[in-house]
């Protein structure tokens, strides 16, 4: 294998997540694990181009990182000495037990449950997951969430300190806790994915990297934890992701599903994701992510907008509403109802949601569309104005302004 810098960067990226997870599992100390991995990467960057890339790069990095961790523990005088000695002994045993080509046990599952523990704030869960499981730097995460690097560093250290001091265990939860805890993990991954599409004021960046990280995380979880909702989330994210090229025009203006050029969709990915979904649904344990994926699959496999299977989409939204009771699902169900032909009834359902969804931009946008379809131009105009005022970015704004103009 060649040792040029792109190859190195690729291997580092591939292996870092697993190695870091294994280090955290042994050291129980996020910062020490990160520092030790950084040391190992520096050493690899020096040694590999000279001596060639080892056949198991991950194992190499792990054993070097362990030795560096021992060095760091020895040097540190602030730690409790008993604990330090104990950790050093454990690390030594591991180093002598596992030689170069050991199979690194995958610790990422435990790590993801720890990083997504509900005792951490949602912001902290997202940041910590991106930092430790995806290997993004604090700077990269800060940029993606449009906050400063120092704010992000603070958020990360507070989260790590809470894990250490509050007694958050480094384990996969027991069976009776698993559904609730898994819910938190899936929500974090979906949040990371959605964040990739919601750029804020004046920015059109789609933050493609975040979307890829979410796909990667869902994929890791899918491989490590067989669960219908995990498969559902993976299928859902990949079905959305398959349509990315058609979502914006060259000027960054959003293109609605109705007007997207379906030839630009990644049909191989759609086929794969639909396959995962179908075998999952066959297990007969439906859940919210599987249902959302099923809706997405019906869109992704429709020849065009008018040949979409609206009655089935309506039925799926009904099921989803019964599962979640969410007003946003009720809104989407109403839109599906309108697209199945009953616009008048849809608008009365939507109007009933006006209190709970008053500050939700898509509510006003959907209401405006329905009013326009019924020919109520003035009311539609007002609703578009509300939606435009609530938009968080230029792409959304431009999209709504264009829609309002088209009507009049």
């Amino acid at each position: 294998m060649s040792g040029d810098s792109t190859t190195l960067a690729r291997i580092f990226r591939q292996e870092s997540g697993q190695v870091l997870a294994a280090l955290i599992a042994q050291l129980r100390d996020f910062d020490l694990a990160e520092d030790a991995l950084a040391d190992a990467l520096v050493e690899a960057a020096r040694a590999w181009p000279e001596r060639g890339i080892p056949s198991n790069g991950g194992a190499w990095l792990l054993s070097v990182a362990r030795r560096r961790a021992i060095d760091r523990l020895r040097r540190s005088k602030t730690r409790s000495s008993d604990l330090t000695e104990q950790t050093i002994r454990l690390l030594h045993e591991d180093v002598s037990m596992n030689e170069q080509d050991e199979i690194v046990p995958d610790e990422r599952l435990r790590l993801i449950f720890t990083c997504c523990h509900p005792a951490l704030s949602e912001d902290a869960r997202v940041a910590l997951t991106l930092r430790t499981l995806c290997g993004l730097t604090a700077r990269e995460i800060a940029r993606a969430f449009l906050t400063s690097e120092s704010t992000m560093n603070q958020r990360l250290s507070r989260a790590k300190a809470k894990i250490r001091d509050a007694g958050i265990a480094y384990v996969v939860p027991e069976a009776d806790d698993l559904p609730a805890r898994l819910h938190s993990v899936l929500a974090v991954i979906y949040l990371i994915y959605n964040e990739s599409y919601s750029a804020y004021e004046g920015q059109t960046l789609s933050r493609h990297d975040l979307a890829l990280e979410a796909v990667r995380l869902a994929d890791i979880l899918y491989k490590l934890l067989p669960d219908p909702e995990v498969s559902g989330l993976l299928a859902l994210i990949r079905l959305h992701h398959a349509r990315r090229a058609a979502r914006e025009d060259v000027n960054g203006v959003l293109i609605s599903l109705e007007h997207q050029d379906r030839r630009m969709w990644d049909h191989a990915e759609i086929t794969q994701a639909t396959g995962i979904l179908l075998s999952t649904l066959a297990q007969g344990q439906p859940g919210p992510y599987q249902i959302q994926a099923a809706i997405s699959a019906l869109h992704a496999t429709a020849k065009n907008w008018s040949e979409t299977d609206w009655p089935q989409i309506l039925a799926l939204y009904q099921t989803l509403y019964e599962m979640t009771g969410s007003p946003i699902v009720a809104l989407n169900r109403a839109v599906a109802l309108a697209n199945s032909g009953d616009v008048a009834k849809a608008i009365s359902v939507v109007d009933a949601l006006s209190d709970v969804l008053a500050t939700y931009q898509p509510f006003h946008a959907a209401r405006a569309d329905l009013l326009a379809r019924l020919g109520h131009r003035e009311e539609a105009n007002t609703a578009y104005d509300h939606a435009i005022a609530l938009s968080r970015n230029d792409a959304e704004k431009a999209f709504l302004i264009a829609r309002r103009a088209k009507m009049s």
Binding site: D165, A166, G167, I168, A169, P173
Partner: protein, 113 residues
């Protein structure tokens, strides 16, 4: 690890508890003791009995009432010995007041001298 479960609820709200509150507390205490997690636990007299003291310039200033005027007041506590936060939270969720108040769970800080 030692965890403190601090039991908060709106003053006087225990009357909204649908069952036998004292009986359920008794059951909780027995269950936690049998599982070996209970170190100790106590209910406190109502917040109307609270006095606060602050020492400033070496002079204690005593005032009537709790430290902070909040809707929810501290009504009691349990000291639990659990393997991790998950276990502590599981026990805290079984405290009868959790159904209408809030149980704050915090590890006890251990300092090595």
């Amino acid at each position: 690890m030692k965890f403190m479960a601090l039991i908060y609820s709106v003053d006087g709200s225990q009357s909204s508890y649908p069952g036998d509150l004292m009986g359920d507390y008794h059951k909780f205490g027995e269950e936690a003791a049998a599982a070996g997690v209970l170190i100790e636990g106590n209910a406190l007299q109502p917040v109307s009995t609270a006095s606060s003291v602050q020492v400033r310039d070496n002079k204690p200033a005593i005032t009537d009432g709790p430290f902070a005027e909040t809707k929810e007041v501290l009504g009691g506590y349990y000291l639990l010995d659990c393997k991790d936060l998950d276990e502590a939270l599981k026990w805290a969720a079984k405290i009868p007041t959790a159904t209408y108040g809030t149980i704050e769970v915090r590890p006890v800080l251990t300092i090595e001298w």
